[in-house]
């Protein structure tokens, strides 16, 4: 999966789960202010991302720092890289 595919897959999965237009998932979009997602939605977001990418996020403190869609993209890409390194 290329980085672009990862980003598109993440956006699509979250847009479906939270019943939002995928076009709203721009890198600068803020989860709370622009997408109206609260901290409980963040818990659901972790579940969706874990399921979509078959990764373990759990209570990773880095997730608490995610504020924008761009932050989420960077987090998932880093997680993917981490997994690839572990596999090699």
């Amino acid at each position: 999966m290329t980085d672009r595919q990862v980003i598109e897959t993440a956006d699509k999965a979250l847009a479906e789960e939270f019943e939002l237009d995928v076009e709203r998932f721009t890198p600068e979009a803020r989860f709370r202010e622009d997408l109206d997602l609260d901290s409980l939605d963040a818990v659901d977001m972790v579940v969706v991302l874990e399921k979509t990418f078959q990764i373990k996020i759990g209570r990773d403190p880095a997730v608490m720092q995610i504020r924008t869609v761009g932050d989420m993209h960077r987090y998932i890409l880093a997680k993917k890289q981490e997994m690839e390194q572990e596999q090699n």
């Binding site: 939270f18 019943e19 609260d38 901290s39 409980l40 659901d44 579940v47």
Partner: protein
């Protein structure tokens, strides 16, 4: 032309009659009924301050349902069924009057979880605060969740509109997850309720009342224990299930009306 005139007269009758009745009902409730009823609930029945006020609010709502029945046709399904206590009542949301429609149900001790603006409504705001309603914009989600757990532990039900705001077109909007996380954490069942026609009667963007047929259907409780096997996914699946049940009921009611 004749049809338009008849419709205009109907609008005048509905708006003057219903709003006039509502003003009289509210004034009589505040001036004559609230104090003796509160004393009765508080001292004769032994309710705490919040529960006494919630019983009073329910009585006011019940009187409102009688007023409503005088002006619009109603279709009530399963509204008289006793609800599991405590529970989380989750209707779809189309109109300001949806909270009043809770009084079609027999459960009196309902704490509403609402946004900040209703607390600023003159006359209503102080009663809402006394009733201990939850302001969902007053803090972070964890704090609201903690207070909600206390309310349920105290035996009261929680009424929440999972859409968070009134639908402008009758289509259900996305459901927020709070009520469903709360249900899974506490093991308290969710009671989906389908309300239809209230958004036509009073649209979210205006004050003009329009003729409508109002339907309220109380659906079977959905228990979070049926979702525990799904672990962290349980709140998501519970939310989807409840929304699907309400959507199905909404579709049935709308197809009956066509």
């Amino acid at each position: 032309m004749r049809h338009r005139l008849s419709y205009a007269l109907k609008l005048v009758w509905l708006n003057t009659g219903f709003y006039g009745g509502l003003i009289i009902l509210t004034a009589v409730s505040i001036v004559f009924i609230s104090f003796p009823a509160l004393c009765l609930f508080r001292f004769a029945r032994g309710f705490d301050k919040g529960a006494a006020m919630r019983n009073l609010v329910w009585l006011y709502g019940r009187a409102w349902t009688k007023l409503l029945a005088f002006f619009v046709p109603l279709k009530l399904e399963n509204c008289d069924r006793s609800l599991p206590t405590p529970c989380i009542i989750t209707p779809n949301h189309q109109s300001f009057f949806d909270t009043y429609c809770f009084a079609f149900m027999p459960e009196r001790n309902v704490v509403f979880a609402v946004r900040a603006w209703p607390f600023r409504i003159p006359f209503y705001g102080p009663y809402m605060r006394l009733a201990g309603y939850l302001n969902t914009e007053s803090g972070n989600a964890e704090e609201i969740l903690r207070r909600s757990k206390e309310i349920l532990a105290g035996g009261a039900c929680i009424g929440v509109f999972p859409e968070g705001t009134r639908s402008p077109d009758g289509k259900m909007r996305r459901f927020h997850g709070g009520a469903f996380h709360l249900a899974v954490l506490t093991g308290v069942p969710v009671v989906p309720v389908c309300m239809e026609g209230t958004g036509i009667f009073l649209h979210r963007d205006g004050f003009l009342l329009r003729p409508a047929r109002i339907s309220v259907k109380v659906l079977d409780p959905v228990h979070p224990r049926d979702f525990t096997e799904y672990g962290d996914e349980a709140p998501l699946l519970l939310r989807k299930t409840v929304k699907a049940h309400i959507q199905k009921a909404l579709d049935e009611i709308r197809s009956e009306c066509q």
